[in-house]
Structures are given as C-alpha cells and as structure tokens.
Amino acid sequence: MHLKLKKYLVHSYVNITFWVFFFFLLLFWLLPIIFHILTGSFTFSDIFTGVSSDFITAALGVSLIIVTLFNNTNFRFAMSNGISRKSYWKTRMFLLTAFVLITRIVSFIIKLIEEPYVFAGRGNFIPRVLTTEFSFFSYFNNSTLNFLMSFFLSLLVTLCSIYFFMAFNNFYLMFTKKMRRIIVFAIIALVIAVPFMIGMFFAYLEYMGGNALAVSMGKFILSIFGLNLVKDGMYFNPILFAFDMIIIDIFLAFLSYKFNSKIQVYKD
Amino acid sequence: MKFNFNSAKPIFLQVAEQIEDAIFTGTFKEGSQIPSTTEISKNFQINPATVLKGMNILVDNHLLEKRRGRGTFVSVGAQSKIIKNRQDNFYNDYIVNLVYEAKNLNMDETQIVNLIKRGYES
C-alpha cells in the first residue's frame, strides 16, 4: 500500500466530508432557522434541533458515497505520479473500509450519547443499554454477543453497498466519456427494471405452480440469507447472513479490483 | 562567438570551429576560462552533449584543457598552434579553389599574381 497516496486520499476524503457537512448544516440547520425567523415562528430551541445523530449518520453516509463515486481525479493523480493501479486499489480499499468502520462506530456512539434514556412504557424511562438496544435480534442468549453480531452485520451491509459503488465506479471509468453516458442510462434502466423482473419471475412461478410455489421459492431465497419464516413470526440466523454478506463483499471487492486494473486514462 | 545553426553541418563541428575561431582572434585568451558547456548550450539552445563533443575535439587537439572542478581553459600556445595549422592548410583551403575559379574565367597565372600583389598593397 502506498503511504504517500494514503495521506493524499485521506486529505481528499476529509475535504469532501467537510463540504458535505457544510451543506447539510446549511440545508437542515441554517435554512430552517432563517425560514423560521422570516415566518416569525423562531424559537430558541430551533438552534439545537436539526443536528441529531440521524443528521450526522446521514451526512457521513452521503460523504462515503460521494467519496466512492467521485474518484476519477484521484485516480488520474495517482496514475500520473508513478503509482500503479494495484497500489491505488489497495490503498483506496483500505481507506474506504476504514471510513465505513468509523462511520458505523460514530453512528452507534452518537445515538447512545443523544438518547441515553429510552421510553419503557407507562411513563418509565430506563437507561439505554448499548447491548440490548442495538441488537436487531436475539439469536444468542448473551446480549453482548447479540450486540456485537448486530454491529458486525451492519458493518457488512454498509461495506456491501460501498463495495458495490466502488465496483460500479471502476466499471464506469473503464470507458470513454461517450460510452459512460450510455452506461449510466443502462444502469438506470436496469435499476428500474430489476424489481419489475423480480415481480415477473414470481408471477411466472405462481402461474406454474400456484401460490404455493411462489411462496416456497420466496421462503427459500430468504432462507439463504438466514431468514426463516414460521407461522407467527420469523427466525433470523445472523451467522448465515454474515456468511452470505462476506461472500458478496469479497465478490464485489474482486470485481472492483478487476475493473480497476482495466481503467485507462482518457482525454476527456 | 557567432553560431549559425541553420546550416547543415553537424553542430558539434560548428561548435569546435567557432571556439577555435574565438581562440584564433584572441576573443578567448590563452590561459583564460571559456564558457561552460551548459552556458553555451543555453545561449544557443543546443544539446549540451553536442557542445561537449565539439569541445572535446579541441581538447584532443590540445587547444583546450579541462581542469577538474574549475572548468575548461584555453591552452597556452593554442593560438600559435591554430595559426600553424591554418597555414599548413592554406593551399587546400584557398589556393585550389582560387586557381580553379581563375582557370574557369580564363585568367592566367601572371594576372593572379598581380591581383595578389594588389591585395597586399591595399
């Protein structure tokens, strides 16, 4: 991994994050205040609303996506200063993964700080316990394990989306400016078409074997991801889900590596 | 020094000739330092290696000497060496063409000698 490049990329990512936060503040804090002042409904507490954990989580998320997708200039900078594609990919992969990890940790911590108490019904507020509150499931008997697993799963899922964007970005950069426009349209068309195609698939199953076939296919697909539906609820197997996610993440990372190694520097 | 690099002669030869000329006319005095290859190449925008090659011809002919760490200097006695060399080549450089041209114009030997006398008197 290239140390000097790391410094450069970190500087670039921090810069982008800063600007995203700036615009978020503008949009969700300053502008509402100004609007309230203008309409005469301004109260002192307005200053403290808007900047919440959701705000920070969203801002970090947007930064992450922008940093992943807007990569062309950084790539060219690296290419023109004696850094190989392989080194560039490794450094970027490391930094993005670290960025995701940081985002997730910050998210969790801020939520805890912001709302130390949770409503427990009948006027009672109990302290928010990290381990029970953030567990999405209770697969293990140990609440700490449940929490750790939840955190790990949220990490894997976020990585999945970021690695997907990274693979997409690298794929996109493989082509000339002209082709890129076509690809964007194709992707948009695909994104619109996929739910439609899934719907068609299930409709076809239903046509073939009635409701039962469609439902059992659906159940089967869900079970691959660890989700088992039973009569009055569902069981979730996080280990299986984690396993699937890891495979998907590795596959997406591999794709991004392959695409990255094929990127050429075009004139545009 | 006056370089005319639009001519078709190899540049390193031109460099050698021009420096030799400058020594001959006394522009570069014996024992004094001549401009460095970098200076000359920058001045006339030519390749430094080419300049060096030209200088080396003169070094080989003992007209220039390189002093380590100090630069390139005109050798003592260089001017007289050049004069002697040009005297030796005078016949080939000037006389042959002169006679050829004279013969073409149907001028005989006496006419040429008279012209030479006139040249010395003026």
Partner: protein, 285 residues
Amino acid sequence: MIEGIEIKNLVKKFRKDIVLDDISFNIEPEKIYGLLGRNGAGKSTLMNIIADRKFSNHGSVTLDGITIHDNDEQLSRIYLTSEVDVYPDRFKIKDMFSWIADIYKEFDYDLCKKLSSEFKLNEDSKFGNLSTGYNSIVKAIVALCVPADYIFLDEPILGLDAKNRDVFYNALIQTYSDRPRTFVISTHIIEEIANIISDVIVIKDSKVLINDSTESLLKSSYEVTGPAAEVDRYTEGLNIIGSESLGKIKSNYIFGDLNDKPIPDTVTISNIDLQKLFVNLTDRE
C-alpha cells in the same frame, strides 16, 4: 540486460484502424529524443502506452528488463505530461506542487520555485483557472522537477509564447546538464527543438520510420539542386523525400545513399538542415 526502455512489438488498434503497427525500438538513458510525426500519427498513444496510462492490444514495454505495468518502482521512474489534466481543478498551484513533492521523495522543490518565478507563475491560482499557456507551464515545471529517469513531454509548449518557450528550453538544457536523464519530446514546432535533441524517432504510417541520432541523419541526407531536368535525372532511383522548385531550378531532398552517377556541373549537392529534413520526413505523401 539492456538499460533503458524496450518497446517490443507494440500493436494498438482503434476500432478498425491500426494506430501502432508492430512497433519495436529502444529509448536509451540520458538522451534527449524528439518524437516526430504528423497529427494523428500515434505519438500520444505511444507515450501513453509507455507510461501505462493506456493499454496496447499486443506487445510489451519494459524498463531495464522489468515490465512496467503495475510496477510501482518502475512506474515512478517514468513520467508523462500531456494535455490530459490529472490534477484537481480546485487545487492551488502551490498546494499541487507540495503534494507532488510529497509523493516523490526527491522532487526538486528549489528548481520548482525558481522556475515558477522565471515563468511569472502565480502559485495562488487554481489549476482549473489557468490559461492554456500556463496549464502547459505548470505541467512543464513538474516534469522538469520530478526525479524520474525517463520524462515524456507530449507537446509541452502548447500555448506558450516565444519568451516562455525560451525559458522552457533553457530550463530543459540546464536541468539536463545538472542531472542527465532521458527526455522524449513530441512537438510540431520542429525548428526550435531541432538542435536541442540528440536523437530522433519518427512515426509514420503507424510504424517507426526512423530511430537515429541527429548526427547520422544529417550524414545521410542531401539536397540536390540545379536545373530541374538534370536534378531529376541524377536523383532517379534515389529516396526522394521532398522537393522545392523556383522557376526552372529544382531542389530534390534525398534521404539515404547517393548513387555512383557522375554529378553534372550544373548540379550541386549539399546537406539538408535538420528542420527541413524533419519536415520532409514526416510529410505524408
């Protein structure tokens, strides 16, 4: 192991057109090369492939025997500057310089500062706001200051006025004297650079037409001048690369060997000067 960049059997196609047709040649250390050829001859493509920015369809590029592709160490010894902007528009020039200096351990920062002032470059301006001329100047400055051993300059004087071109040539000569390394320069303004380069590579019809020193090129090129009929008769069968006429007087430019024919009295044979030679060599028939 041959020192230098070895280009072997390079083929580059663009759709149905062959841009580079089985090109093989070497780039030796510490020489200043001129890369000549008409517009669209493939010079830029060739340099981009050598610098691993674009890929060839076939063939290899090695530096000192080692393939440069995906090799950090070899790649850092090669530098290419071209019209492609590789720096963020929002960067101030001085920040750009310090980032590049950061990446290269031995970036000549002093020379960089010196050249900035010689070119009267405003280091506070943003890269994206530079004029064409100053865009080229910034790239040229970086190219002269990086510690690479093989520097490729694709049309480095694009948009530079006469004074700045002067500054550039002087800076090139000075830095080449101080720290000899290879420069490969492609340009259309042949006249100004003809005497600075020591070697010439000419690309024509997707092939390397010439790869030689300027000295040996001069030795094997001739200008045959005289009455048109006599000149044509004498030069029949020779490699005529161009000609000029003024009334009945004609000059044929020959590249290659002369023949044993006796030279008529009315015909004179002299050498061609470099600029004329290059122009006629690269001219499409």
